[in-house]
Each structure stands twice: as structure tokens, then as C-alpha cells.
Symmetry: C2
Subunit: 426 residues, 2 copies
């Protein structure tokens, strides 16, 4: 069932440094009239990022913790017009139950969009999901039994660790460098662990900001297909490229085994919860059945309004504007880090996305630093949360998309001060 | 893991009569480059109801198949105004990521609403879900390991069967009569099967239309609490009462072990996908962690718009209007059935909800009748889909909420003709 609970690669993040910040107990036992919980719940801690978000919501804190897009770039007026349009023209259909697969014209648009990115997508290969997070959950439902192995980048997206934990699988870390997953380790890891799935964020990765080179993508595709391992390509950031076009997805060269999870959360607005899953039609059909059982379908109105918006609106120009703003914010953050971080800190400039991944000097412990930082009114996510085994504690993830330049400068000044003091004290 | 695949009570509905109606293959094997599917997928057929809906969407068919509310009663203008308001006043927040628990003012309103129904609800005991279907999924995630037993009414809600199938549990049927679950069987069934959960729709049940009397509710609460069995009360229809107030929920007399899944799908609009889960705060906290992993949170905009609508709008008067229209449609259907159904047919008038449950004469097979009915341009759901073992094939579920009276009369005329002919032929 879950044969390897003692294996280090199975253990999942716990968040002791944040427990004291939380308003409610996280591990309260069931009441006296209740049955035992499912075993999977023992593996499912709350997400550190989302719990920190609650603390960091305090308006006096400059937060670089969340993976939040810039709300001032949300096309609010156009989204309002799209909702008004849809409710005026198709109100009854837009508020009724609808098919699990999703709204046809929206799937058509997404198929065209993916074709422009190089993926040979047909609308019937697309399932509308409630954000790309649900894509991770549904692919897990379709493929993963307890004890199965998933290979993930090290570090990897925190909420993917959480999503996989619900399926009681064993996560095995693939090392990564400044160009992402080190695919030369895959042959050995596949031979040893017989994984069913490789999960990765190949473009502008969360948390590292790295982008996998095309040669590595080709190698990944070849070895996974040869060994009948499915690839889940999670690509929320691919369009947020600072120079040149979005990277060619791994899925563009799929041999039938790549599932691609996309989303409008970073390019339109996350509060709509509209994402999609693309892949082999038979597998997407299975994911559709799994989604039927989970929540019937994604909100009809939000799907229709999104489709309406995409028809009335220059999506490419909008994304280009986001890229330019994020590029500037990233530059601002990199400059402020150069100014305020003590010697021995290390980071790599990302070519897109929303994050800078920073290594603290002298193996300072980022988890231990966080309470001080919160007291100084600056927040970040300690890097340990992104490692399957928490094995590194000297990294920090900094988000640059959600603060204006002046706040980024002030925030990095505060953060640099916290780090410098800790260094002096150590 | 799944110890009892051969047990009749484990087998789940397959839908052979509809396969030929479907546009796409339902059991295609994975491609040559893909790993084996998870074992749970073997237990997860597509929902017959949702597949029939696709066929019954043809405009020439009078469909009584779906569980669709009347779209002409959706408060379209008010929902449009609520979205416009929220996007004008709080556009950036309404389109941003938000907490998994849900929007505070909406949880406050729901807590007040539940208190008016007799449940001692606090806002922190409420999780906003993507429809009440997700409540079933999340409660399953929290409590159910493979091989665990869930007691369900016989017949029960089809999509609950599907939701539980994803958790590889064993469903054991509790007999029901014209007043719902026969709770006198519970002691024996609990002793024999050691269930973790009892799932039921106590008010205006789907598919039977039955309502559990208060004495049975009290007996259910007592025995479940005594044996540490959780109860999942699924209550989408409780407010749709034709005479008098909504029934007092089972959850109103919970001893800490009742989870209550509610929804605005039947009272406002299903296309918003806004439901909720109420229960013991520690369990709701667990469900919140499970939801974080599944889809992060329910759409921020839809939650805020719903909260805005509920403040601007006379919800009680709106629900009263729905009840009156549905009461009339139900009366029309009952009258038309009296006129058109051959002798030996049997049904019981429901006191609320959206369905009439009809027993065909002479043990006619409803599954076999469906293709003829579709050819005569009338659709229904064969009752077998609602039985864990498909053990009864002589029942039909008829929805009366989604057709105007004249269509109900014409539809029952067509349906009565199909049944009469089959009876004559038999």
C-alpha cells in the first residue's frame, strides 16, 4: 500500500517553522465520534506557501513569498465586459451544468494556441481543468497507485509535492543545475526506481527560474518514451519569456506519452481558475472521467467568459505587456540583490517567469531566518519546502512579479539586512 | 488494496446500452509509450447520466434525463450585476489567487443560512467547494482507504457511486422504502461490514424523491455516533420543499460526526460551481488541505459574485419561486403519468426536489427501453445506474424541473407510448 514510509525520498515537507504562525491547528485528531482518517492524510501537510500567504497578507509586510501575478495587469475591464456579454447573450446556458470536457470554443482556442507553440493539439485532446493544479491531480488519479514512483526535479514545485502526496506515491528527486533537470541521471534512476511518471516545469521553473535546453528536452523525451514513462509537463510560466518567444514545450515532441498542463492563471487571471490538460486522447478521456467524479466540470460561466475574452482581446499583446513588466521587475530585483545581499550569496538571472532562487551565504538556514524577516516586515518562502527531503535549508525563493519596483528595492534592502545580521551573528 | 473485486457489492455501473450512443471510445487502452493506468481507473466508468446528457442535448429530444434545474429561473440579471459590481469595486482581488477555505463573507452567509436550518454552524467550519460533488470527493479523500466500506442508500446518487469508485472502496447498499433509508438495517450492516462512512441524500432524494422522517434521522445519528461511523449528508435539494419549510438536516443533530455537503447549484445556478462542506472544524481543516492539493481553491470571482448577489437579493423569495414552479411541474408530471402510463406502473409523489422515480409494469427493462425512447424523442435515466449492483432494471428516473408543463405532458405521452408498446409486445 505504502511500502516505503521510512525511505527518505518518501517523506514530505512538514512546516514546523510556520506552525506557530498559523491560526488553527494542523494536526488535530478526529473527534470521539469519528472514524480513523485515511492513511493518505498522514502524508498531506498544509502547503507552506499558502499558509505563509495568510501571514504575508498583512498590509505592512512586503511579501515576496506568494507566486502571485501582478494584479494591476489583470484585464479587469475586459473580463467584466466578457462576463456581461456572455450573461446578456447566453445567460441561461452560461449558468447551467455543462459537459466535463469543457466549453467547445474555449478548447478550440487552446488547441490553436498550443499549435502556435509547436504542439500538434486537437480540441478533443483538451480537457478544461480548474487551474493547472487540477491537471496534476487528474494525471495522478489516472496513473498512480500507492507506492508508485514519480521522478521530480530537485527542487520542484511545492504544490506538486502536495498533490502527489494525496496518492501515496514515492517521490524521487532528479538533480538539477542552472539549466534545470540533469537528464543524464534519468537512465540510472529509471532503472533503479521504475517510475511511472516524470514531473517537471521545464520553462522558467518554480522555484529555480531555470529553463531546460532543447537538447535536454529531446533526451528526456527519448528516454521516457523508450521506458514507457509518462511525462507531466507543467507549463504555467512558459509564455512569460523576457527575451524572444516562449520555449518549445517538451510536449511538442511527444511520442504519445507527454501530458501538458497549462493555465490562464499567469496570463489572464488566477481567480478564474481556468486551466487545461492536453495529451493522448484516450488518456485525456480517462482524466475526464476522473474529473466527472471529482467536481463534475469547471465553472460554465468562467469558461464562456474566458472564451469570449479571448475573441475580443489581443492576447499576444497582453502577454507581451506582462513579460515587459516582469522583465523590469526581475532586473530591479537582481540589481537590488547585488546592492543589498552580503558576499557569498548566489543567484542566477532567470530568462522569464516569476522567481529568483537565491542561495544564502555560509549555509545560513532560511527556515530559521523567516520569523526574523516577518518581524522586519519582509516575507519569502524558505527553499527547503521545495525539496522532497528538505535536504537543503540555505535557499530562498523570491517572487518579483507581485511588487512594484520601489517595493522590490525596499524589500530587498530589508531582506539583505536580515541576512547580513544573521551572517554577522553566526 | 482492493480485496474484494469479485464481490457483487463492489461492482460499479457500466453503461453498455449507451456506449453505442457515445461519440468517443470509453475504454481505449493507453498508447504504446505509456505506463499502465492506476488500478482505480478500472472501477471508474463514465457517468451514464452525463453521457446521456450529451445525446439528450439534441433539440428534438424531450429530455427528462438530466438533473438540470430550470434555466429560466436563474437570476441572470442579478448574477450579471453582481459580477459587474465585484469587478468594478474589487477587480484585482476578485481575479487573484485566494485562500483555500474560501471567501470570508460567503462563508459567513452560509453559516447563517445553516443556522436558520438548525445546524449550529460557524464560518470556520465551512469550506467552499466546487459544487457539492467536490464535497463528496474531499470527504472520501479524508476518510477512505482502498477496501474501506461505505454504506449507501439503494438506490443512491449515481455520481456519488462514481466519486467513491475513485477511492476503491466497497459500497454496501442499505435498503430503502418510500420514506428513504431503512435505518433498522444499520445495526446489522455496521456489525457485518465495519463501514467508515454512511452516505445519504435524506431530503427529496436523488433518484427516489423520498424524504427521511425525523425519527429515522434521529436513529441514524444515534447509531452512527455510537459506532464512530461518519455520516455524509448530501443535501442539494432540501430547500426545494413543495409544502412547508425545508426538512431539518441530519447535521442539525450531529454528535460531531456528520459532514454536510451543500450547494447553490439548485437554488442559484449550477454553472457557478459554488458549494460548501460543513462539519467538525478539524475534519474541515483536513478537507481544506486535501482541496489545496486538488485545485488550490474555488474561483475567487465566482465566490465574491455569489456573496455580492446574496447581499443584494431576496434569496428566500427566489427559492420560494423555484419551489412553486417545481411543485407545479411535479403535479403536471404526476397527472400526465396517471393519464399515459399503462396499468402496473408505480410511483410515489415526492414532497420536493426534482425527480419522480417510476417502477415499470411487468418488470420491463428500462435499459432496453431507452434506445426506443430516444428514437421517439424522449429521454430518461434507467434506474439500474443508481443501484450499486445494477440489481433492478425496472425503474426509471424522470426529472420534472427542466421542462415546461406542456413539454412534460407531451414527453409523458411519448414515454407512456413506449412503455405501453413494450408491454403489449412482451
Amino acid at each position: 500500500m505504502n511500502p516505503d514510509r521510512s525511505s527518505p525520498s518518501h517523506r514530505l515537507p512538514t512546516v514546523p517553522p510556520f506552525d506557530s504562525l498559523l491560526p488553527s491547528p494542523v494536526q488535530a485528531p478526529p473527534g470521539p465520534r469519528l472514524p480513523a482518517l485515511a492513511h493518505r492524510m498522514a502524508d498531506m501537510p498544509p502547503s507552506a506557501v499558502r499558509e505563509i500567504l495568510k501571514v504575508a497578507e498583512r498590509p505592512d509586510i512586503l511579501s515576496f513569498a506568494g507566486g502571485l501575478p501582478a494584479p494591476e495587469l489583470f484585464p479587469v475591464d475586459e473580463i467584466a465586459a466578457a462576463h456581461a456579454d456572455v450573461l446578456r447573450e447566453h445567460g441561461r446556458s452560461a449558468l447551467q451544468y455543462s459537459t466535463t470536457e469543457g466549453f467547445g470554443p474555449l478548447r478550440d482556442w487552446i488547441a490553436g494556441h498550443l499549435r502556435r507553440r509547436g504542439i500538434a493539439a486537437r480540441p478533443d485532446e483538451i480537457l478544461i481543468t480548474s487551474g493547472s493544479q487540477q491537471g496534476i491531480d487528474l494525471v495522478s488519479r489516472v496513473f498512480l497507485d500507492p507506492g508508485d514512483v514519480v521522478l521530480v526535479e530537485s527542487p520542484t514545485y511545492l504544490a506538486a509535492i502536495q498533490a502527489f502526496a494525496a496518492y501515496q506515491v514515492r517521490l524521487v528527486a532528479v538533480p538539477s543545475d542552472d539549466q534545470g533537470m540533469q537528464v543524464e541521471h534519468l537512465a540510472q534512476l529509471i532503472a533503479t526506481h521504475q517510475p511511472k511518471l516524470i514531473y517537471l516545469v521545464p520553462s522558467f521553473q518554480n522555484p529555480k527560474g531555470t529553463t531546460l535546453p532543447q537538447a535536454r528536452r529531446a533526451a528526456l523525451n527519448a528516454i521516457a518514451a523508450d521506458h514507457r514513462v509518462a511525462i507531466l509537463e507543467d507549463d504555467p510560466y512558459g509564455e512569460l519569456s523576457f527575451d524572444g518567444p516562449a520555449p518549445r514545450p517538451v510536449a511538442a515532441d511527444s511520442q504519445g506519452n507527454v501530458l501538458y498542463a497549462g493555465t490562464f492563471s499567469k496570463t489572464l487571471a488566477p481567480g478564474l481558475r481556468i486551466g487545461w490538460l492536453w495529451g493522448d486522447a484516450a488518456i485525456v478521456r480517462k482524466a475526464t472521467i476522473a474529473k466527472q467524479a471529482a467536481d463534475l466540470h469547471t465553472a460554465t460561466l468562467a469558461q464562456r467568459a474566458t472564451a469570449n475574452l479571448l475573441q475580443r482581446f489581443d492576447y499576444a499583446a497582453h502577454v507581451a505587456k506582462i513579460c515587459e513588466v516582469y522583465r523590469q521587475r526581475c532586473q530591479t530585483m537582481l540589481g537590488a540583490l547585488s546592492t543589498h545581499m552580503p558576499e557569498g550569496s548566489r543567484w542566477v538571472a532567470p530568462a522569464g517567469g516569476m522567481f529568483v532562487w537565491l542561495q544564502l551565504p555560509a549555509e545560513l538556514d532560511a527556515d530559521a531566518l523567516l520569523p526574523t524577516a516577518i518581524a522586519r516586515k519582509v516575507a519569502f518562502v524558505p527553499g527547503s519546502a521545495f525539496f522532497v527531503d528538505h535536504e537543503r535549508r540555505d535557499f530562498v525563493r523570491l517572487n518579483f512579479s507581485n511588487q512594484p519596483p520601489e517595493s522590490i528595492i525596499e524589500g530587498m534592502r530589508r531582506f539583505g539586512g536580515v541576512v547580513s545580521e544573521a551572517l554577522d551573528a553566526g
